[in-house]
């Protein structure tokens, strides 16, 4: 009870409340703008938050992170343009519903499902807390090393069809984290005798380049797109009651969102894919999926909104970010010397609970805002994309330059901006670079301290959690190889049968 009161006291500071309000509403607007995602906004805001208390900065970022997907559903449903990448699946059923005159029903269901997913994940987080507080202290150096390694492997394997690209980019990220002065032996690594490389490559500069500047450049160079106009009429509250008819799909999708959010490197896309497949397979009308099935819409929105809350679990409990946004949040912790990990649950439980309450509040604020301001948002998203590019590039300056007032940082960020633009154009993943940078640094430090007490290789996995993690890594690799072989065989079979079909026709 004392901890809860202490958490409420933390949250009741006016700065925290303002950050929560601005983050939540700003996140919805940012999410609704096609071409600007939460990652761009968080990257820009990151250096500005360093001046704040950790809870203020984190609340602002959590607000943007947790609310952007709500906003992204609006253009996805009404104009068939997902506001953020994770709303792409929402267009499958949301837009067909709009076309048959059920736009307000689709939006209302999307908001309700998002709210359900968001709250569900926070409740899971709260329920899991005592367990986490119990398990987290058993994570020593070798367990954290193995968890980080698992995260790297998962982020590579999660990019189906792009595993090699994800692998080379994750390795590139790890390499970037090694540049500069080595912290123990003080020897130079890949500095090429240039002083500006001695302090290494700053994670935030890379993040801003890859996410914000690259997006600005892409919008500035590409043709101008103006989202179509739309308007929504009707009562948006109706979805809340309608959601109860689909409570099974909403609950399972949210659970999958929580599960996938907790696993480093996996995230929203896998959660959505699994929930959508589940909803379709268990539906009485599976043929309607893709043509305006409410269950499809609920599955997509509940799953993606359950992820942010769950993604905080590995970050807070182990200090391991599962994806790019939590990796950015980790730097807020580091700047303020708050080290997330087992000790956070033991020493600063009120801080952790304050974050949970902030997550609940942000869902309530966003739902209230959306129910009253959807038509206003539809006007805001009419900004031409090239003008958006101008805005993002201008804001990127604040992000990079305010860090150290360094022109070199701006030049490095610009170089990563061009690199990010190329990756985006080629549809290659950016996230592995960021996770490689963060997890690479963690792996280097933890391996060094873990190996000090290890005499034989088996000692490394002689503790229960380390053994479980090691077995998981092995299983994941074996299962991946098995899936690749199976897919290859089925592809060959398909080709053989289609060849025989063709030959029959020709004959």
């Amino acid at each position: 009870m004392e901890t809860l009161l202490s958490s409420i006291a933390i949250l009741s500071q006016w700065q925290v409340l303002v950050a929560l309000l601005l983050g939540s509403i700003g996140g919805v607007i940012i999410g609704a703008l096609p071409g600007v995602g939460a990652a761009v906004a968080i990257a820009i805001l990151l250096p500005a938050t360093f001046a704040f208390e950790p809870i203020v900065g984190l609340t602002l970022m959590l607000g943007v992170y947790g609310s952007s997907m709500y906003g992204g559903a609006i253009p996805a449903i009404l104009i068939n343009t997902p506001g953020t990448a994770v709303n792409a699946l929402t267009t499958y059923d949301g837009y067909p519903m709009t076309k048959r005159g059920e736009g307000h029903r689709a939006l209302s269901l999307a908001y309700s499902a998002s709210f359900f997913g968001g709250i569900f994940s926070v409740v899971c987080l709260i329920l899991l807390s005592p367990l986490l507080a119990m398990v987290a202290p058993h994570f020593g150096s070798r367990e954290i090393f193995l968890a980080a390694l698992l995260g790297i492997i998962l982020v590579v394997l999660a990019h189906r069809g792009q595993v090699f690209a994800a692998g080379m980019l994750a390795s590139f990220g790890i390499f970037l984290s090694t540049i500069g002065l080595e912290p123990v032996k003080y020897t130079k690594r890949f500095t090429f005798d240039m002083t500006w490389l001695t302090s290494g490559i700053n994670l935030i500069v890379v993040v801003l380049g890859l996410f914000a500047i690259s997006q600005a450049l892409l919008l500035l160079v590409d043709k101008d797109h103006k989202p179509g106009e739309a308007r929504v009429e009707g009562n948006l509250f109706s979805g809340l009651s309608e959601l109860f008819r689909f409570k099974r799909v909403a609950s399972v999708s949210s659970s999958l969102g929580v599960l996938m959010g907790m696993i480093p490197g996996v995230g929203e896309f896998t959660a959505q894919f699994l929930s959508y497949t589940y909803a379709q397979k268990t539906s009485k009308t599976p043929d309607e999926f893709g043509n305006g099935a409410p269950e499809g819409l609920i599955a997509s929105e509940a799953a993606n909104n359950a992820v942010p809350g769950a993604a905080m679990i590995p970050l807070l409990a182990l200090g391991i970010p599962g994806e790019a946004l939590t990796a950015m949040m980790l730097s807020v912790f580091y700047v303020h010397n708050v080290i997330p990990g087992p000790q956070l649950f033991q020493g600063q439980l009120d801080f952790v609970i304050a974050i949970y309450i902030a997550l609940i509040l942000l869902n309530v604020i966003v739902l209230a805002f959306l129910l009253s301001s959807t038509n206003l948002l539809l006007k805001i998203i009419q900004i031409p994309t090239r003008f958006l590019g101008v805005m993002i590039l201008t804001l990127s300056f604040v992000g990079v330059y305010s860090l150290r007032n360094s022109i070199t940082d701006c030049a490095i960020a610009s170089a990563f901006g061009v690199f990010g633009l190329i990756l985006k154009r080629l549809n290659l993943p950016i996230v592995p670079i960021i996770l490689g940078m963060v997890l690479g640094g963690i792996m280097e430090v933890k391996l060094r301290s873990a190996m000090a007490r290890v005499k034989s290789p088996l000692d490394f996995v002689d503790r229960p959690i380390a053994a479980v993690l090691f077995v998981m890594i092995l299983l994941i690799l074996i299962l991946h190889v098995r899936t690749v072989i199976r897919e290859h065989k089925s592809k060959r079979l398909q080709e053989t049968s289609s060849n025989s079909d063709t030959s029959t026709q020709q004959g």
Binding site: G161, F164, T178, L421
Partner: protein, 179 residues
Amino acid sequence: MAHIKTLQELFRRHRRPGDIVFAILFLALSVFLLTQIYGETSWVKRTKWFAQPRFWPAASLIAMTLFAIFHFVGSVCSPRILGRWLEVVFWLRSLEFVLYFLLYVAVVPLLGYLPTTVFFTCLLTVRVGLATPRFLGFAALFAVCVAVIFRSILQVKIPAGQIYEAFPEQIRAFALTYL
């Protein structure tokens, strides 16, 4: 022959225009960095392998090069979509905006954040073909809001313009602190 076909099928993927150019450049970068490993990192005596400063750069560069080779092979084995050089030109066109950005960065400490930002947003608005009074007005208003929010209210660390020193005394202190 059958083995080569199987290998081709295993590596085949969807490939966008320009993919092979990127694959070659990235592979070249990986190989170049790997060849520099002895000169750019050191091996410290009486230190175990896991604590060697060379260990992580070497491990990451070996992995990077191996994956880059596979990515390149995948690119070669996959069906080509035409438009490679048009795509490369698209990448290069972004350098024009990078140049504007770096000029903006260089000018801010001289002319001050607010005036430079107003000029920069208006210039880019004209450059992207939105030179109407409405959009120029939006651009200027946006620039003022950004400068006020970040420098005046949030007090983000951006140096004051040198030009402010020449301002009359009454407004100099205000400009140095808030604009």
